[in-house]
Symmetry: C3
Subunit: 324 residues, 3 copies
């Protein structure tokens, strides 16, 4: 590509494509993943009560993508365990993050500058994982774009996609939410990457692989750093998503009436609703009783627009807080 | 078989056996399956909140049998995605059923005459799927009747058998019920078909394959049409089931005492129970709080007879209404 | 090994290693497993409501290890069904245990002397299953100790490890507990066995296979008999576990403050808490309403010591009683 040559980026992209993930980038991935587990509500208690469940959860955070893509391709999901060095590294990091005396490792790694570097390095591994998944799927299913996307996505965002079952290991069960119902930023960006790499692999995208790797890696690293520094969690695709959503998934239809009704009903009940939930929270905090849950129909009363969707996300977050 | 020759059904059965499911019958299967999803409580809201979760659920409704039998035979569960044409067809139908302007497609397909034709065509695909499963199992496990039955059943009724996990995609979790605890009519008829085709395959059933295909197909199409027209959901096997149940699974036993006690206790608590649950429902509707659930022992106080079973099913339905 | 020769145990261990599990030991395994299922709360009701779900649950109790290790190695999880003789035996025993007239079979097998013999024989099959798993893993993943341990463990204790999903078949869902969070004695002893056999297989443990088989079998049989006779459920490893736990997973750390706070808070709220939960229980027993559940953070306020862990286990048991 001429632009790359003109900007002298050709060598850079070649250099990046030949970069080895092992050991430094892999270690950054393990550290950031296990710290993410530690920051889950209840994870610290589990680490005290059952180190084994905590270790297994950590391995799912670190190798979830390999496990999920293994299951999807009917390859042994225990395969990641056979790579002793990786498991040993991940286990040592798990031990240090959870049980290090004085909690030195976690406190150091949680410092913003170090966290920034580690998160950036972890994002770099994402490119390799997505590409690995797409290549693996390509070797089994020639020219099946959908399988390539699915496997690339599973490999890159496996930990998130299997989060319901990872939580189950820790005795937590939140059926009302999953990564398909409400995608997080890493899951979204991995899906975008899987689509791009699958298109590149089938030559629908007129870009060379190492160029795409450079562009994608820079984009995710920069974006992740921006999010960490500003503390914002707005997706860079919000505008595109909203446009696609409005074009494809709404429009005049009988549901407008249906959802309109529901929305109205919600607004009508709004005050009572909030008031009651405050009381409920107060009560449950007073008596320490287990919280009630909504197992079915987690989503109620959204009107068919993104705004309503966002509102519902806020409501859901509130619910989560109550539930946790 | 002489009877078939006498009735000039030999050619008809040969013609049926050579019928191609693609594209018309497959499309009918997709339409009816996705309409069944749309009629699930909460599905419309999910389709507005997360089109991706809705699409994934639809694919599980359409290809659930292939996914489940793939997992059971350690073949890649993503394989159905590699058949681009089928996935494209199913996705277009998913889009039209859920998001068509003016809701034209759903309204048309829901008209009784069209629905009757589509449901009939969908039932025809069941024969092919069960037979495909039995053949696939036979090629891997020669002469293992049980594996053939299991794979034939999984392939024909996969969507129902994995319904707990399909619901999880939509954020719904109903552990207290599944297709094994309380089989629906399609699951039952598919099991019967799987048994018949497995017996035919191992030559225990002295019938030719195309004759059995004709008989089974006619039976399920006629029965489905009858059920749609009369609105009844009584199984044609109710009498046989009841007889088998009474012969094999009851009789004088210490449990009679046990279950009798439970039943009595239930009757004693009946009035209070109902009264309270009405209050509970009222309260929960007032404050919009998440409902309570019974995760364990969904079945309480059945006496050891089919009558009690039916009553319990009613109770369960009531519970479901409360839970939803 | 000289000690074995001196004690004339060489021949005994050879004899044991050549012992065939089929049919007597396998049958003992089926009987004890299915009796364990029958003693689960709610299992008898399920056996009356849905014999099929009960049968499927029984098969998971009998062949859970083979199913789980099959999934982990990407081998067909239906494979156990292809062994018709075993399935037939297990099915006959399932029928006799659940539906035998006068409940003769269960009552006989539940008599202490017979139960003792059957449980001892079942424990013998554990050695063979663990060894089978380790060998199977070794043939696929040379020298990967972790995979050998995982597969040996899965094969020997599969029924327990998949208990959450086995329960789901019966309509029971208890996400707040699993065998990783709170290991039962059979799961622990199987893990120890898997570690030993994996070490022997990779020659880290200087013992011959048949000698290790003899030692391990005698240990688990004697221990099981002791537990049955004394009714105690204390693990023989409690002291070692506690030592390992105190050495590795505690120590001065910021959590001490955190968990201390939580513990204090718990103590402070103790009276109110208990009072409220009594009220809650009373209410729920009055109105027969489904109980509330703790889906998240099953473990609250443990201080970082085994004592606290044991206390929490008691609390959990109390919760279970309430939940059931």
């Amino acid at each position: 590509m001429d632009l790359f040559a003109a900007l002298h980026l050709d060598e850079l992209s070649h250099g990046l494509a030949n970069l080895s993930m092992f050991p430094y980038f892999d270690m950054a991935h393990y550290i950031v993943s296990i710290m993410a587990l530690r920051e889950q509500p209840g994870a610290l208690e589990v680490s005290r009560v059952s180190p084994l469940a905590c270790w297994f959860s950590s391995m799912l955070f670190c190798f979830g993508g390999a496990v999920l893509s293994g299951i999807m391709l009917a390859e042994p999901p225990v395969a990641p365990l056979s790579n002793s060095t990786s498991v040993l590294f991940a286990s040592i990091i798990w031990y240090l993050v959870f049980y290090c005396p004085m909690d030195l490792v976690y406190c150091c790694a949680a410092l913003l500058p170090l966290r920034l570097v580690l998160s950036g390095m972890k994002e770099v591994t994402r490119t390799w994982k997505v590409l690995g998944g797409v290549t693996q799927a390509h070797s089994k299913y020639k020219d099946s774009l959908l399988v390539m996307i699915a496997i690339g996505w599973a490999k890159g965002a496996g930990g998130g996609l299997i989060s319901n079952f990872e939580q189950l290991v820790r005795g937590v069960w939140k059926p009302e939410t999953n990564e398909l119902l409400k995608m997080s930023y890493p899951t979204k960006i991995t899906l975008v990457g899987a689509v791009l790499f699958a298109l590149q692999h089938t030559h629908y995208l007129p870009l060379q692989k190492h160029h795409l790797m450079l562009i994608y890696t820079v984009f995710i690293v920069v974006n992740k750093s921006r999010m960490l520094l500003t503390g914002s969690s707005t997706s860079p695709f919000a505008a595109i998503e909203s446009a696609i959503y409005k074009t494809l998934f709404t429009g005049y239809s009988p549901y407008a009436v249906l959802t309109g009704d529901v929305t109205k009903a919600c607004i009508d009940n709004g005050t009572t609703n909030t008031a009651t939930s405050i009381t409920a929270t107060k009560e449950s905090s007073e008596n320490g009783a287990p919280e009630k849950r909504t197992p079915v129909s987690p989503v109620k009363g959204q009107s068919g627009s993104l705004k309503a969707k966002e509102e519902s996300e806020n409501t859901e977050t509130t619910n989560c807080k109550k539930t946790n």
